[in-house]
């Protein structure tokens, strides 16, 4: 297996995506990898910009500080598209992420439904390894993180 240089993690502001970011920061420190936090700008976000393209959201800055992440190895990347397409592109240039990390559910998803599940879509179509970080609800149900490692 090649050295893991860059990990991309999806972030939409949901509690699950924050959990995915924390998990990623922890892994990145262990394997000395860089982290790119990826945010997908959907159609509706054009009407009301949720996150700055230039600056990492304060909530993420706080998590990075809490996790003692080296700021020079951390990047905020905003791209147009649905979450699934944007995350899949993160495995290709220019990001070239060697690992994709997603939370099990983003905003607005209903429990147990496959339709619209970014995590499952990414796991199904990605050409790079994918880690799906379970939500706290799932953890409490003793569910296990689903990993799809090549």
């Amino acid at each position: 297996m090649n050295e893991l240089r860059t990990i991309a993690v999806g972030y939409d502001g949901s509690p699950d995506s924050e959990a995915a970011v924390r998990w990623t920061f922890d892994l990145a420190k262990r394997v000395s990898a860089s982290v790119t936090v990826v945010h997908a700008v959907g159609l509706l976000e054009h009407l009301e910009e949720t996150f700055s393209h230039a600056e990492m959201p304060p909530a993420l800055v706080a998590i990075a500080k809490e996790c003692d992440v080296d700021g020079t190895r951390l990047r905020w990347f905003v791209d147009d598209g649905d979450a699934c397409s944007v995350l899949l592109r993160a495995g290709a240039p220019p990001l070239d992420a060697g690992l994709l990390v997603v939370g099990s559910r983003g905003h607005g998803k209903r429990d147990g439904l496959l339709l619209g599940s970014t995590s499952l879509e990414v796991a199904e179509h990605a050409s790079t390894p994918v880690v799906i970080v379970p939500s706290r609800d799932m953890e409490s149900d003793a569910s296990v993180a689903s990993t799809h490692l090549e």
Binding site: D12, A40, V41, G42, L43, L44, E45, H46, L47, D79, D80, G81, D82, A83, C84, S85, V86, R89, G106, H107, G108, K109, R110, L113, L114, L115, G116, T118, E121
Partner: protein, 349 residues
């Protein structure tokens, strides 16, 4: 003669309060048609609920079952942009069926222009996934039906967003030519000039990404200089238009600067690609400013039907993007060369 789909199935129940893709859009577009005062030259075509056999030409069976189940379970948010209600699957099937009904009626009459005035829109819908307000790909199902009859179908997509779903569905199909002008970068992020089609359909995808602020003269340049030579070589037997009107300068969803006069000019250009009468149909895609939608629908159809010029808004000029159009031409030519050379290498004994 204008053939318009009658929304025999009320689309009002496909609504999420506050969402811009709303029933009022159809009301505004209908008003744009009414403003034409066509009298007996307006033919109302009843839609039907598209059958499974018609849908699976384009959509994955599992996806259709999943979407149905999701709706009948009460619906909800499919992703950050896209919703469905209990009635959405039925309404979306009627939108698809409306397109098929208009095509059949044009074939029967062998004259006129079709306008599929239905929602939800379709051009972002992938074979196996809803996205970008779209559940089923209306224009793609219509194109697939024509293609099954041996037709060569040109799809021109002038919605401000790239029609990633339509492009994906026909990516490797040499009998369908997909042409898109769109703002870029913008949702869905695809639609670069170097996307030129799959190995079996090289040069059957034409994308001209345009910068924010681009005006009508830039879009016309894109059609004339980049798309027209490819279309002429393709010799389409049918022309379908993904007619979104969100490139209008008043639309809140994007930043192009088109006017209703620009849509009138684009419509005239695109209508000229149809080989004869009765071989042109437009499908409503985006367009979220109701006043702009009404005036743009009116100007577009007025122009195609050969009526007097729309005088409410003159065509626009002077925006950025002419250099990008020239660059797009170079990039796609280079991409075609690369794909062709890699194809040659693989087929050499």
């Amino acid at each position: 003669m204008l053939l318009v789909v009658n929304g025999t199935y009320d689309d009002a129940d496909h609504e999420d309060p506050g969402h811009p893709e709303r029933p009022d859009r159809v009301t505004a577009a209908r008003a744009g048609v009414a403003d034409l005062h066509l009298g007996s030259d307006l033919v109302v075509v009843p839609s039907h609920c598209a059958t499974r056999a018609e849908l699976v030409r384009v959509h994955n069976s599992d996806y259709l079952e999943e979407l149905s189940a999701f709706c009948y379970d009460g619906g909800g948010d499919i992703d950050a942009d896209t919703f469905a209600t209990f009635d959405s699957m039925t309404i979306a099937r009627h939108a698809v069926g409306g397109g098929l009904a208009v095509i059949r009626e044009l074939q029967r009459l062998d004259e006129g222009v079709g306008f599929v005035l239905a929602r939800p829109p379709g051009h972002h819908a992938l074979a196996d996934r809803a996205m970008g307000f779209c559940l089923l790909n209306n224009v793609a199902v219509a194109a697939a039906a024509l293609r099954a009859q041996g037709e060569r179908v040109l799809i021109v997509d002038w919605d401000v967003h790239h029609g990633n779903g339509t492009q994906q569905i026909f990516w490797d199909d040499p009998a369908v030519l997909y042409v898109s002008t769109h703002q870029w970068p913008l949702f869905p992020g695809s639609g670069t000039a170097s996307e030129v089609g799959g190995r079996r359909a090289i040069d059957r995808t034409v994308n001209v990404p345009l910068p924010a602020g681009a005006t009508g003269d830039v879009v016309r340049q894109a059609i004339d200089e980049v798309a027209a030579p490819v279309i002429d070589a393709f010799h389409p037997t049918w022309v379908l238009v993904s007619a979104g009107f969100d490139a209008h300068r008043a639309d809140p969803m994007a930043d192009l600067q088109l006017t209703s006069g620009d849509f009138a000019e684009m419509a005239r250009s695109v209508a000229d690609f149809a080989p004869r009468a009765g071989r042109l149909a437009l499908f409503l895609e985006g367009g979220y400013d109701l006043k702009a939608l009404r005036s743009s629908v009116h100007a577009t159809l007025n122009s195609i039907l050969g009526e007097k010029r729309d005088v409410n808004e003159l065509s626009s000029t002077g925006g950025p993007g002419k250099d990008q159009v020239r660059r797009a031409l170079r990039e796609r030519q280079a991409a075609v060369e690369i794909v062709l050379s890699s194809h040659d290498e693989e087929t050499e004994p």
